[in-house]
Symmetry: C2
Subunit: 526 residues, 2 copies
């Protein structure tokens, strides 16, 4: 039986507050630093390593974090979750995204079916459909192959699949496995859809409408936009569209779509990249085998997160170090800094995943909490960021903990040697250098050139951005966020904070406003 | 004579700390809210309006902010700056980016020339060159027109020009003024250059190498990359490349380039979008007339920033409200939320502009300051963000002040009516609704659905994203950051914080490391 308790009621949290702080410039210098890099390192899925040598922890703090993991029953709660308990208490729902990539525990029955079997069935249906599209058996009205797939969705139906597509697009080109190019339409801004439609050949494009409820305003609006474009091109829209939705949605059995693939209420948008939401677009773009490989990477990380030993469970360790930084050291933000252009939109996905999951002020029972919860997440790829906002990270008045991600090998394997090294080596040298610069700093008599150091970072190092590694990386962060939600005792799976704006926007469009809202509407001439 | 004083030595700052806090749910409700929206509004350049009704200020606080503006001599310092004083004290340089768009004050002589005349001369040279390219008088080896322009640069040579290009690309398509498509290569990650080169027709591409010193490692590396690609395609690289650099750089007179256009040490990278750095790529992409229109928008805002009346100087007002939020209310971040897909990369540019300028812990004399300086800046376009990180903004445990940007009209003028309104109206309705939702909140007995409100925002409202408005918007934020730097008494024009990482990266590549750095290098097999 698990107990859901607030962080500030836990004895290990009290103990954590009393631990001695670590001075990074001290411990990361000389042989002590080298020793930490060797020791504070844990293997992850898919050949990744999570290295936390430059985090402000030591054996004593790690021991208390291990107690906290135990007292907060983090792995037990994970088990309860994947075994089908109603962990999303606000919406009274199960939380089953892990089952899209494997059966971690007991069989989970819901809606009268085995949910793992249900997700696998959708994967198979998508795979069969994608194969037929690639073979030209499902083709446009003129019998020609589709060359482009366009995902119409917003939030979780957009950010995750888009980040993953961009991560693998060039890898796939290099492997000759890019079956279709993918594009994404998300914003209700009409210029978003117009620009995407302007840049593709609609006659050879297949559109995926992604909406669980079938009622998301942005997505339905963009669907109309696309249907207009198809009609204007003299095409039959129903031959160019498929739907990813829930079985009970109005879209599920509509003749407007070539096919419909299903998701359900047990997978939130931001956790849906491994469901049909990511499955359809990624299988069409890269082929079902690539999508399956991506799921394997995620599954391997999911199994690793079952480990009760904190030092052998990288997602839980990453989570707890984050809690230490947030609730003991008092840092408000975390920057995610992938040294890989392929991961250019991965920080935007993590921003959603983390901030939408844990940006809460009440616990899972709806009671206000009296400690900080989810941090602000932002980031851009390195080395670009080094020439931009790193100034503040190095010398600003606040400390921002950092999460680096780096890879030994490039995707496209085209490189040049300048000043004795390849670009890939330069990229790796830069991230290694940054970790030490942030941790150790460098004293200078000229205060303007002085680096205090003491700025904590961790790094995830992998071989290459490829389907398996992207899956593992995604699952690592999903599980990190989940563990942090457990520690903070919040419900990481609802999002009530997005509702009020929707209600008020409807009121504006219905001209049912007064006061400030009426005046603002007037400024926009609504 | 201006006096450079720390914020915490100013009497008006002491007074500001003692002002009574404003309760947004209170003042923004009912008729009081409507009154604030009408009253707390100031015209900007190019038809924009800056509305700060939903900021946590009132007449009393505004009066003290006006005193602070006067005591800190903000407009006087701006005047000193554009009249050519050595305001970048760290690097002992003038700060002259305003002169690229107009002569605001006295003639400024440096390096033996009139600097305004120098910048205008570069603009003319670029315009002549661009016209010849567009007419086909300057063409590739086969005498064919160039169709694509590729900017090779990083940091300020990338983020600003890229954000502006993306802001205007679809506008230009709609106006039939897109002369060449533009692409950007920035990251030392070899996959960045490889992917861009893979996506263009190199035989019809013109490359712009942008490096002030001619020594930026990323840029020189990517130049080699591009030259290899040109050679492999059997092309003469020198017929496909131009340089934007300083007159004293090794690139300035090299035969490797078709032409060279000049910038100088008085314009920092992040302020260089209106110099030759932005001028070359934007004039080639859109035509010199469009670039000139963009400069006019910036110039109009620059003149507005000369106004000593705080309530008629939107950049200074925005700056001081930001200081109030940072130093009195204690907020660490600011989110920039443009409701326009065209401005998708504008937040990334502002992130650099702001964080690299004011992320400092020492004042302009190199002495440590004892107050917070530049905030963390992040953001994504709305409505996308509403389905993502807005959850934390609405209900998280920390308050993040918000900067909305919205437009009455779309760029492409293609729209659909769904549920009685166009997409553009929906977009505008959403941003209006968000302001009120954040400010007023909405009580609910169910704490999970409760919105406390009290989350401050301002909004900049314009007619459309077009050359003039983008220029004005850019200058507004440049001048806001400058005024904040004056208040904090920091040097907003150097970036010593990016140096240490460079030095250490070189050491890694030279294998001159020990301790933690050696171990990290080992993890990457360097």
């Amino acid at each position: 039986m698990v107990n859901w308790k607030n962080l500030d009621t836990l004895a290990s949290y009290e103990e954590l507050l009393k631990t001695k702080k670590v001075s990074l410039p001290e411990v990361m210098s000389g042989e002590s630093g080298a020793e930490r890099v060797r020791k504070y390192s844990v293997p992850m899925a898919e050949g990744f390593v999570y290295n936390y040598a430059a985090k402000q922890v030591d054996d004593e703090i790690l021991a208390v974090l291990a107690k906290l993991a135990e007292e907060a029953q983090l792995v037990d709660k994970y088990q309860v979750l994947y075994n089908g308990a109603v962990v999303n208490t606000g919406e009274k729902r199960l939380v089953l995204h892990h089952l899209t990539r494997g059966q971690l525990g007991e069989t989970v029955q819901a809606d009268g079916v085995d949910k793992r079997a249900f997700y696998v069935e959708q994967q198979k249906k998508i795979a069969e459909f994608a194969d037929k599209v690639h073979e030209g058996k499902i083709a446009n009205g003129a019998g020609e192959k589709f060359t482009t797939v366009v995902q119409i969705g917003i939030g979780g139906s957009d950010l995750g699949p888009r980040a993953i597509y961009l991560a693998l697009e060039n890898w796939a080109k290099k492997q000759n496995t890019l079956k279709m190019q993918a594009r994404f339409i998300s914003n209700v801004d009409p210029d978003d859809a117009a620009a995407v439609l302007d840049s593709i050949d609609v006659a050879h494009s297949l559109f995926i409408l992604v909406s669980k409820s079938g009622t998301t305003l942005e997505t339905l609006t963009n669907e109309s936009f696309v249907k207009d474009a198809l009609r204007n091109a003299g095409l039959d829209a129903s031959k160019h569209m498929i739907a990813v939705t829930s079985e009970t949605s109005p879209l599920a059995k509509s003749d407007d779509y070539l096919a419909a693939f299903f998701m359900d209420d047990y997978i939130g948008g931001r956790y849906s990249s491994t469901s049909a939401v990511g499955g359809a677009v990624l299988s069409l773009a890269f082929g079902p085998e690539v999508f399956a490989r991506f799921l394997e990477g995620a599954a391997e990380e999911d199994r690793l997160s079952q480990n009760k030993n904190l030092l052998e469970n990288p997602a839980m360790l990453d989570a707890l170090i984050g809690v230490y930084e947030r609730n003991v050291l008092g840092h408000m933000c975390t920057a995610v800094l992938p040294y890989s252009q392929a991961l250019s939109r991965f920080p935007a996905h993590l921003q959603q995943l983390d901030m939408e999951s844990n940006g809460k002020s009440v616990n899972r029972f709806g009671e206000p909490v009296h400690y900080q919860t989810g941090p602000v997440i932002f980031g851009e790829p390195g080395t670009n960021g080094q020439h931009s906002f790193y100034q503040l990270l190095h010398q600003g008045t606040d400390i921002v903990p950092l999460q680096f991600i780096g890879f030994k090998n490039s995707q496209m394997d085209t490189d040049v040697v300048i000043q004795g090294s390849t670009s890939q080596k330069k990229l790796c040298a830069n991230v290694a250098a940054q970790i030490v610069a942030f941790a150790c700093g460098k004293p200078d008599e000229n205060c303007n050139k002085n680096f205090e150091g003491g700025r904590p970072s961790s790094i995830i190092i992998g071989e290459q951005v490829n389907p398996g590694s992207v899956g593992a990386l995604l699952a690592h962060f999903e599980n990190k966020v989940m563990f942090q939600g457990f520690v903070w005792n919040v419900n990481s799976f609802d999002q009530e904070g997005v509702q009020l704006g929707k209600v008020l926007a409807k009121r504006v469009l219905a001209h049912e406003t007064d006061g400030a809202l009426k005046e603002f509407s007037g400024l926009f001439q609504i």
